[in-house]
């Protein structure tokens, strides 16, 4: 029952929106916004298993590698910066400096050091999606309850245990927000990274479609990106549910009044 309800809720709005799009675009003459009908046909034709293997799979691998690396760096650096005020004072301007530089502009510089292979693309992904994780980790760590910190200190919970058992869990709800943000940014950067020095990948394919005026195919690629994002976020949600069970319980205990 609840599963059914969930599925219903998850599908309701997308179905309405797609139906609306279908209806409104039907008979569209505009070259750049073709009817959804055409796009869907293109979708079926374009994203055959072979193409998925050749273009989507490598993209996904890079995406995963970049995301995981960003998670490690973001949380690690974020904890250090969040806990140490001096370090924060030193690093924040530098980090903000890099944060403001658009990845497309930075890619050439990254290419200087990382070449043009998968390494470069992974770095571009890391470079773009580490920020939400980093910022949220810093803020989450800073917001750790003072009584919790005092308790840890008083009972000699120091060193690694302090980080993993106290600070990290306490900041985890906000870190989760960052991880969630980073996921979709990672997808976006996967596309951007493949706009440079590339010859395969989902992003490359979409850009290629765009350039070769295969507009329905391009839209089908965008839809695929959306589906990809949706699927990944679903997985993320499951993981988050598990990891933050205590938090959801804590927050929902009162609301779930059954």
């Amino acid at each position: 029952m609840t599963v059914l309800r969930k599925v219903l809720f998850a599908l309701a709005l997308p179905v309405v929106l797609f139906a609306g799009w279908f209806w409104l675009s039907d008979g569209s003459e505009s070259f750049y916004s073709p009817p959804l009908r055409t796009i869907l046909t293109a979708f079926a034709d374009t994203w055959q298993p072979e193409r998925l293997r050749a273009d989507v799979a490598p993209s996904l691998l890079r995406l995963l590698a970049g995301y995981l690396l960003a998670v490690v760096i973001g949380i690690g650096l974020g904890m250090a910066v969040g806990l140490n005020r001096r370090l924060r004072a030193v690093l924040e301007p530098v980090l903000e400096f890099f944060r403001a530089i658009p990845p497309p502009v930075l890619v050439p510089v990254i290419m200087l050091f990382a070449g043009i292979g998968d390494g470069m693309k992974v770095i571009v992904i890391v470079f773009g999606c580490v920020w939400p994780i980093l910022l949220n980790t810093v803020e989450g760590v800073r917001a750790t309850d003072s009584v919790v910190l005092d308790t840890a200190r008083a009972y000699g919970v120091t060193g690694p245990a302090r980080l993993t058992r106290v600070i990290l869990p306490s900041a985890s709800p906000q870190i989760a927000a960052g991880l969630r943000q980073a996921l979709s940014i990672a997808i976006i950067l996967m596309v951007i990274s493949e706009m440079f020095a590339s010859s395969n990948g989902l992003g490359f394919t979409i850009v290629q479609f765009q350039r070769s005026f295969a507009i329905p195919e391009m839209w089908s690629g965008i839809i695929l990106l959306g589906l990809l994002g949706f699927t990944l976020s679903l997985l993320f949600r499951l993981a988050e549910r598990r990891a933050l069970r205590w938090y959801e319980g804590l927050r929902a205990a009162r609301r779930r009044a059954g």
């Binding site: 290419m111 070449g115 043009i116 440079f196 020095a197 010859s199 290629q208 350039r211 005026f213 295969a214």
Partner: protein, 300 residues
């Protein structure tokens, strides 16, 4: 923008606001020069130049009448034509110099590279600015002509400005570049292995100015005046290379040394139909087009 377009029919007396989407490279110097010389104004065209980064921005702009005209290479235009994008070329844009070793685009390698001729490019990694476009078409052609196997050439996509670093870093074996990067790579010891445009066809028309079929139907007069102005500009530019080099300072940031050294392209007013047909054939052969382009529908 749309609020500035030339509404109001063929009023020859009134001034038409025209926005043209161009790429801020040497190729479009004539239109800047023509603008400063007043060639457009004298035809009642108030010209505004917007620079975009290639077709992704310019073609939709022209189709939607955000731009009245655009600048694009012929391969992109032919791809658009095969996809029935409603556009039409109206004037020549830029053409190859036709001189081996002295063209504005070429395949280059590092000075100490074992690659001596286009034939050696087989099995090598070559960068082009856009895959499945004019760069790889003409490069494949040069390789074939030199007796190499073009199927084994490994093309990667990369913006022109990044190619020199990639070349020196050994990330690519050869680069298909145009000016000003070409001069700069050569100055740093790079070596040219193929004048690809020259190999492809004599006096190859590389790019043209184009407009939407709608504008062509609605305001034939405006298109005519624009074409005339462009042609005058092209002719003037071709005849006054020094002024061309000078006008570059206004819309590029090419430094003075390079500016003096770059090889300028040719700016004939004729679109060399035969050469375009050659590019069309080569592209069809390479599988760039879904179907063979119909040049009669694209070219004026």
């Amino acid at each position: 923008g749309s609020d500035k377009d030339s509404s109001g029919g063929d009023s020859t007396g009134s001034v038409d606001n025209v926005t043209v989407g161009v790429i801020p490279i040497i190729d479009v110097a004539p239109i800047y020069l023509g603008q400063s010389k007043g060639f457009f104004k004298s035809r009642n065209i108030e010209l505004k130049l917007e620079s975009g980064q290639g077709g992704a921005a310019i073609v939709p702009g022209v189709v939607s009448n955000q731009f009245q005209f655009g600048f694009s290479n012929v391969t992109s235009l032919m791809i658009a034509q095969t996809k029935s994008v409603p556009i039409k070329a109206v004037a020549a844009g830029v053409a190859s110099t036709g001189a081996q070793g002295k063209d504005f685009g070429a395949v280059v390698v590092k000075g100490n590279s074992p690659i001596k001729t286009a034939k050696d490019l087989s099995g090598k990694k070559v960068s082009v600015n856009t895959l499945k476009n004019i760069g790889d078409t003409v490069t494949r052609n040069s390789v074939r002509k030199a007796g190499g196997d073009d199927k084994t050439v490994n093309f990667v996509e990369m913006p022109f400005p990044n190619m020199q670093a990639a070349l020196e870093g050994g990330q690519i074996d050869a680069a298909w570049v145009v000016e000003p990067q070409l001069s700069s790579i050569k100055a740093a010891g790079g070596r040219e292995v193929a004048s690809t445009f020259v190999d492809a066809a004599p006096n190859l028309t590389v790019a043209t100015y184009f407009t939407s079929q709608k504008l062509l139907a609605d305001k034939p007069d405006l298109v005519k005046r624009f074409t005339e102005a462009i042609n005058e500009s092209l002719t003037y530019a071709d005849a006054h290379p020094d002024e061309v080099r000078q006008i570059l300072t206004t819309y590029t940031k090419i430094d003075d040394k390079t500016r003096a050294a770059v090889v300028l392209p040719k700016w004939p007013i004729e679109i060399n139909k035969a050469s375009v047909q050659t590019i069309a054939d080569l592209g069809t052969q390479d599988g760039i087009f879904a179907s063979a382009p119909d040049l009669s529908k694209l070219l004026p």
